[in-house]
Amino acid sequence: MSILSVRGLAKRFGANAVIRGIDLDVEKGERIAILGASGSGKSTLLRCLNFMELPDEGTVALDGRVIGQNKRYPESELIGVRQRVGMVFQQFNLFPHMTAVGNVMEGLRTVQRQSKGEARARAEKELARVGLADKAETYPAHLSGGQKQRVAIARALALDPELLLFDEPTSALDPELVGEVLNVIRSLAEEGRTMLLVTHELGFAYHVATRVVFLADGTIHEQGTPDEVLKHPRKERTQAFLARHKEFSL
């Protein structure tokens, strides 16, 4: 059974239909790279999967259980979903008034009501996993962009999510900081974690993803293995997108 199963998903903002009927099944251990031009609906698709945006049409099922009922999504149910589906943002969205370890502990303490000692031990473990054990007491303002994003990843991991959503995790970073974040994501991939990743890093998608999904106009335009989509795209728009991305590569 799929971890995540999306059927007929649609989302519009006012008159602007951003997602127009998406079906997607994610199996355990899959790593799906989502590509597409800006405005193709990548981020909105991702945000619908943990209900940061509420879908207008269609269903999202986690482990075979459809979330919500008749387009009603009780907050208590969504809170459960968000602990099982972790999210990492382009702009990190760390809490600036808390230290690195405070950020990672926050969900454990406030949402899961763990004891301070328990939460702290877990948070320190996650910080060590992303290579930031020595920055536990540092406030985000004193961290580099790459370090901030790694703390954000640790914050998501602390809740033990079954599925991780990455929304352009390296797009806000200086080029020399991209590598450290991609390395952390790759190590998570090697652990066999299930993840969906919106990215412009085609090389990373090629090497790390098990499947590549290309979005255009709010629908899945083409999908397949990284080799199929990135090396031998069949659809014209995919080809044009990839050509634009390769224009300035060496």
Binding site: G86, F92, E106, G107, T110, V111, A156
Partner: protein, 219 residues
Amino acid sequence: MKWDFSSVLSNSDALIAGLIGTLRLFAICLVLGLSLGLVVGLGRYSRARWLYWPATAFVEFFRNTPVLVQILWFYFALPILLPFEISPLMASALGISLNSAAFSAEIYRGGIQSIERGQWDGARAIGMNYLQAMRRIILPQALKRMLPALTNRAIEIFKMSTLASAVAYVELLQQGKLIASLNYNPIEAYTTVAVIFFVLLWPMVQLTYVMERRLRRDE
């Protein structure tokens, strides 16, 4: 002319009674005004109409009527409409607290609105509900930005306490008036009252600067 403060100092027990009255009224209005202000501010921030409109009506009403009129109204008019007595303290506390709530509500709303949307995203993504996100993530950051404005509010509240003299509540100005009228020494009496206010307020304001600095430790 010759300044003679001995006629004021000989009435120091009256001034101390006034001081206690001022501090009591200030404490009540500070707590009531700023906490009710938070509730009203959250209503003003809310997208739910049944919360937004009453909060907005409250703010507009109490922001656009003079506190002195409110105090007199609560003291002289309200007991006619309602079957209970209202003390000078109650009338003054009501007027000043409600007025402060209306002004601080706008400070809270502005402060909460100034926090980036990403902070809500970050909070919700780890499973927080609205109140948890507000309490743990949004308000602590907003409070830091609001502290200078809230300090001004607190100073205002302290000084507005003198309006309670209009209903003969025993506070510093009321006692100053009393001393001046008994001893014919308005210069000394009112100067003393002004100095007492300054001596009390100035260190309090310094204290809030210390708080501001402490809140900036994450920068």
